[in-house]
């Protein structure tokens, strides 16, 4: 393309140059202008190629995602509020109905917690003709995470944004999920590469929305408000906010303490202020953390606890929301 344009341009430039005053100026223009032109053309070509390849990826992903009915992103601006814990238990909750196919995609590339929390540490991914095979927890519950690509627990993924985006694209395009009713995507905290990319790559496929997790204290709510702003900016519906670690009942004296105090009204008030639905509160039960470390489902281990009941209510509300919309 470029060689064909240049001779014609050269002729036109020669004509224009005759009108430029001063031999030195003409010399300057002769040297600088072609260089600048080539640089600009290369940059334009790069941008066009990138845009085309992004569109191509979005289209490929749309095809792959056509067998996935509902997609839910689990977000938080804040780290350590229980996104992975919630994603895993939401998955177990949805998958308790054996007729439902559930999948979990972990795009926390630097800190993948899903394999541990779902009891899949040490598992490996296999490739087949139809793509990468996810790892199955149950027949109807599949998982994909960068954790399965690491050979040892000390392996650190020290990658800048573009490389992380590349892996996210691969996860969406190359994993053979099959027919899935619910795809849950666990994300790292923040509003950066991973979040921009997942929304961009799924833009052709339709996302039901995002569940935003927070703890009650203001230092968490500050970051979560930003996350909700992010959702608005990228037109991602907010299915609702969940307040995790909402209260702790002392096992000895049975009095409730607010360890992460809701000094500014907690998540319920924040949700009201930001005009997003509030899905419910989950109390802090030390057995939840323990189950996560052991890769077990708290919902099956301690089904009669207040926390398990609270989880079930929230899961049920989300199910209703998704089924109503489609």
């Amino acid at each position: 393309m470029l060689p064909n344009i240049v001779p014609g341009l050269k002729a036109r430039m020669r004509v224009k140059l005759r009108h430029v005053r001063g031999a030195q100026t003409r010399q300057f223009v002769k040297v600088v202008f072609p260089g600048a032109l080539i640089l600009v053309s290369t940059k334009i070509l790069e941008f066009v190629t990138l845009t085309i390849s992004s569109f191509a990826a979005i289209e490929e992903i749309r095809k792959r995602m056509s067998s996935v009915k509902h997609k839910i992103l689990v977000l938080s601006g804040k780290g350590g509020v229980g996104k992975s814990t919630f994603t895993a238990h939401l998955a177990h909750g949805f998958a308790s109905d054996e007729t439902r196919q559930v999948a979990v995609l972990d795009i926390d590339i630097c800190g993948p917690s899903i394999p541990k929390v779902m009891g899949l540490e040490g598992e490996q991914i296999h490739q087949s003709g139809s793509g990468w095979s996810p790892v199955y927890v149950e027949d109807n519950l599949a998982v994909m995470s960068v954790g399965f690509l690491l050979s040892s627990p000390e392996d650190a993924v020290i990658w800048r944004g573009p490389k992380k985006n590349g892996l996210i694209k691969q996860f969406l395009r190359d994993v053979d999920w099959g027919e899935v009713d619910f795809l849950l995507v666990d994300t790292p905290p923040g509003t950066s590469d991973e979040h921009i990319s997942i929304v961009q790559y799924l833009s052709g496929s339709g996302v039901d929305g995002a569940v935003v997790i927070t703890t009650p204290q203001e230092v968490a709510l500050m970051d979560v408000r930003k996350e909700i702003s992010f959702c608005r900016k990228v037109n991602l519906p907010v299915l609702g906010v969940v307040e995790n670690m909402s209260g702790f009942v002392c096992p000895k004296c049975k009095t409730e303490s607010l360890i992460f105090p809701p000094t500014t009204g907690g998540a319920e008030k924040m949700a009201q202020d930001m005009a997003v639905p509030f899905l419910g509160k989950l109390p802090l039960d030390p057995r939840i953390g323990k189950c996560c470390d052991e890769g077990k489902s708290f919902l099956s281990e301690v089904p009669d606890s207040p926390a398990a009941k609270a989880y079930s209510e929230i899961i049920h509300r989300l199910l209703q929301k998704c089924e109503e919309s489609k």
Binding site: G77, G111, V117, V157, K226, C250, T263, K290
Partner: protein
């Protein structure tokens, strides 16, 4: 070497910025890292900074958690604006005597709900600006609070600081397995980046019920110490979950006295350990004494 080791994007070798031009008045740079989110990095960074100021040092806190900047809120300076001077950006001072300076993206926002939706390259540019364009002046310590992970922010800070030889990193973890897994990876990051690990702190290590004094290990227990041993890094101490500290920093208020806060006492001990390692034994000017209420950062 696994594939991931070979693919690490940390560039080994010399600094991309000349050392003398970078942070000329800063004596010691400490990074506060964790692989895991929500373990208390920002709380630890700010409380350590406050403890160092009380010990008579001049301290700066640089918040490179660009998307989720918590430092200004924890120091009670949320909503402040940055000013420019001839030499560059002037940091926000927490106290009238200007012994504690802060820089954060939070000061660049018009509204606190505004999201910073930036990809890596823009974040890297901001971090470089924070290090070169802010007039930090003469500081004994610059504490850098980081977001969780091992990505753009961490790579950029480490590569920019290379010529400066930072003192090292303090790693914060909670005792439970999910946190330890990520912090183990952060130790690998420090090794690859050739940043010395000053030590590991086990935060949220037990919760004492204020009603009956029963201690419950909400996030398990002992994991931090075990990980420190496993990865051969010094163990700086355990800090319990303390609602009194959490409550007081929630409103960005000045911290309470150590008399009523076991967490604060533990953090002071961590600071003393750090000073012993960095400046030599016995360099903390007060032994771990009780902090008084509201007189901590006054002009005297």
């Amino acid at each position: 070497e696994s594939n991931f080791e070979k693919n690490s994007q940390l560039i080994q070798g010399t600094s991309v910025m000349e050392a003398p031009l970078l942070l000329p008045g800063v004596k010691h740079v400490i990074l506060v890292l964790s692989g895991k989110g929500g373990v208390g990095k920002s709380t630890m960074a700010t409380q350590l900074a406050l403890s160092l100021v009380e010990d008579g040092r001049k301290v700066g806190v640089l918040d490179v958690d660009l998307c989720g900047p918590s430092v200004p809120h924890l120091l009670g300076v949320e909503g402040s604006k940055i000013h420019q001077c001839d030499e560059g950006w002037v940091p926000v001072f927490v106290d009238p005597a200007q012994r504690l300076a802060v820089m954060s993206t939070s000061f660049l926002l018009d509204r606190s709900e505004e999201a910073i939706v930036w990809r890596g390259p823009k974040k890297n540019a901001m971090i470089k600006q924070f290090l070169t364009d802010v007039v930090w002046g003469e500081l004994d310590y610059l504490i850098i609070d980081t977001p969780p992970g091992t990505s753009d922010e961490h790579i950029s800070v480490v590569e920019s600081l290379r010529g400066l030889k930072p003192e090292g990193a303090v790693l914060v973890t909670t005792p439970q397995g999910v946190s330890l897994d990520d912090v183990r990876r952060e130790v690998t990051f420090c090794r690859k980046a050739r940043i010395p690990v000053l030590g590991m702190v086990e935060n949220m290590s037990g919760y004492v019920c204020p009603h009956c004094s029963e201690c419950t290990n909400l996030f398990s227990s002992g994991g931090g110490e075990a990980l420190a041993k496993e990865t051969s890094v010094p163990f700086l101490g355990r800090v319990p979950l303390d609602t009194r500290l959490t409550q007081s920093v929630e409103g960005g208020k000045r911290p309470v006295s150590t008399r009523s806060s076991p967490a604060l006492l533990s953090i002071q001990r961590v600071m003393k350990e750090l000073l012993d390692r960095i400046e030599g034994e016995g360099s903390a000017s007060n032994s771990v004494e009780e902090r008084t209420e509201s007189g901590t950062l006054d002009a005297s």
